[in-house]
Subunit: 431 residues, 2 copies
């Protein structure tokens, strides 16, 4: 089965809201194993909505139209879908009663005309009750095509989809027809297929190097392997499709195992799926019984925030020192004032002294320090904006310091520096 | 001029990422007064990408295609656009040099084939330099149609659009052609209309209260006033449309001035547009010549990160202490061990001692402290997950402490606590 999402609303075309519905619905289609090749967004305009619906119905079996089910005149999705499919709208007294109940519960005024409009239902459609708002979802089928209509507000759309639409589509896909099947045929021969997906997370290798390492797998059709770039990381999404969920999972796990066995690449896989570089560091710290202290200058606390977003981080995170001033560097970390005056706060010497100070003064096993120029001002020829030193001390190894020049605005430079610091920590702990 | 956004990426069709680019680009088109009737999303598939591009070129004058400009084989937007328009791809040595520079700065390996692919440019195209990544943006014009190509990562796309694409489109619209105008005509005769928009940012009042305070303005047609909810804040977007940019601006400024005069609401407006609660606090600290020290437990450095995202924050931000362990609270802030054992680390008494300790030990004028239970574990009956104490000391006022129970997961609880802490700081400094 091929599905297509059509989002209706001029506010999307004007960029006034983010299209979170498209993402939510796309995820549900993928979970159901329904292929999706296109998405469309169209405004509250009858002619263009007809064009979008006709295109979608011509190339897809299931069209999910969201938005434009409200009580006002510019809400015309239901009317336009019925016109396009050639289906009549009929009043549904049960829906009307429900709408009045919701309005009364919210202490809202009942406007008869609005209730009359919202309680019209395409003849033969399945009503998908709205637990929190007035416009119900609807599923209407004709000539082997299915159109689902959903209200636009995510807090209404999401429960309708979870509670009603997904189970109905499950039924459609497996072919045990409920009431929705009356007169409906799936236009594809319709054996159901299942998707399973895992994300492999790699640090310290850019996307081209990762792609080179798994080029043979990227050309495979099932499972598919696709690279994604994130700040300081490369991810490989491995997705398989099969008639059986266990088979899909097995295909993915075999490919993931093959990726993990790749010589260089395998060494830089720090986690899977929901893992972060901070949680990967946390696992190693816990495993080795080590504690961590941070000394942050340009990142201002971001590394600490990333470390502490991991549940249970209090087991290994001792403290963080956000030393924005020279005075704080001297008082809290024992950085020698001569180092600061001779080399400047952004220097290898100061970064090393910060890492050593964080470690020794806190009594933690590992000290991690960052100093740099986040910009946009403060750069000079030998010390440009984006210059960052990251130093590590402790865990029975000689201290180390690395120099980078990151590009981007203030936020991006600090994010890149923070990610890189955790990658360096992970590499040090792993070996 | 009619514009159309075409986002390319299978990850969008699978719902793996939210399409924030579509929203960002749609906002820019609206600001430029370029009409938009449709948006499309299509996967990394050559045939379907051709179909989407042909459809867009047939009904729109400007097509903005984003995603699929990376160095790997499934990145095929540039190649497909050139094929559709009938334009050759030629190597650009300047682009190649820039890519190598970015890779070296980040400490990444230079893969020759990847550089060669990313530095191919459609013949006659305008290169829109990418300040933070490898793939440049491109604007190619042929037969009265314009196609802009942009890399998918928002941190690369957004600066390219702001710095290069928007000014080029301005030039196109006003008809003083730069090199991009070679052979270009706008297909609509179109009297141009101008949008102007400002965001008014309010803290300490929920959306319903804000809406009530400006109900009369929300019903106005031009300018429009629309409320948006953000974490701990409510924003009002004021937008006007006029045939003249000065007229649009005047309509907006008048409405904004009216909002600022509202009795209660006016007192909680902390800023406009790009202002954040952290930058608003920074302005007050600078204005009053005060310095700030932070003591963070549950937020782990997030408040420090927010404070230091503001350019120039080193003028007033002295230091931050991320005191995750009791030992750190005692050593770095002088919290009495008896307070910790009697009341627990999450208590009003400890929060007050943390704020006082941060202020007095650092010599800063204001101390701000947070302690709480971020969850998901660690809650008990009298101290549930989400319990947060925020204390303030200094600036010639008696210390204060506030108790909250925030809802949400670990991340949302810490974000809410961090925002709230800065709102409390702003209120204290303002009065």
């Amino acid at each position: 089965m091929i599905g297509e999402i059509v989002c209706v609303g001029t506010e999307l075309l004007l960029g006034q809201i983010i299209n979170t519905n498209a993402r939510f619905l796309a995820e549900r289609l993928a979970e159901l194993g329904i292929d999706a090749y296109f998405q469309q967004v169209v405004g509250d305009n009858r002619g263009r909505l007809v064009a979008a619906l006709e295109l979608a119905l011509q190339r897809s079996d299931l069209v999910i139209a969201c938005g434009g089910l409200g009580p006002t005149e510019d809400d015309l999705t239901k009317e336009t879908v019925c016109q396009t499919l050639g289906v009549r709208l009929v009043p549904d007294p049960g829906v009307a009663e429900r709408i009045v109940g919701v309005l009364r519960g919210h202490g809202s005024r009942v406007v008869e005309a609005a209730v009359a409009k919202q309680s019209l239902v395409p003849e033969g459609a399945t009503v998908l009750p709205n637990p929190v708002g007035t416009a119900p979802g609807l599923l209407v089928s004709k000539g082997g095509k299915h159109v689902a209509l959903l209200p636009g507000p995510p807090q209404e759309l999401e429960p309708i989809v979870r509670q009603h639409l997904v189970p109905l589509l499950e039924t459609l896909l497996t072919g045990h027809g409920g009431p929705v099947q009356a007169g409906a045929r799936t236009s594809t021969s319709g054996r159901r297929s299942y998707l399973f997906s895992r994300m492999v997370k790699i640090c310290h290798m850019g996307e081209p190097a990762v792609e080179e390492a798994v080029r043979d797998l990227i050309h495979s059709a099932n499972p598919t392997v696709a690279p994604y770039v994130s700040i300081g990381e490369t991810h490989l999404r491995v997705t398989a499709k099969a008639a059986d969920p266990d088979e899909a999972r097995r295909l993915v796990e075999d490919a993931v195992a093959a990726i993990c066995r790749r010589e260089t690449l395998g060494r830089y896989i720090f986690g899977f799926d929901e893992d972060t570089i901070a949680s990967a560091c946390g696992n190693l710290l816990r495993q080795k019984g080590l504690s961590l202290a941070l000394a942050e200058s340009l990142t201002g606390g971001l590394v600490g925030h990333m470390v502490t977003q991991v549940q249970g981080s209090s087991e290994y995170f001792e403290r963080g020192l956000v030393v924005y001033s020279n005075r704080a560097k001297i008082e809290l970390l024992g950085v020698a004032p001569e180092l600061l005056s001779r080399h400047g706060a952004v220097s290898e010497e100061v970064a090393r002294a910060m890492a050593l100070g964080a470690q020794s003064r806190s009594g933690a096993d590992v000290g991690l320090a960052l100093t740099g120029i986040a910009g946009p001002d403060g750069g000079t020829g030998p010390k440009p904006v984006g210059l960052v030193y990251i130093a590590l001390a402790g865990a029975d190894k000689p201290e180390e310091c690395h120099r980078y020049v990151f590009s981007g605005d203030r936020q991006l430079v600090t994010e890149r520096a923070a990610h890189r610091a955790l990658v360096l920590l992970w590499l040090r702990l792993r070996d």
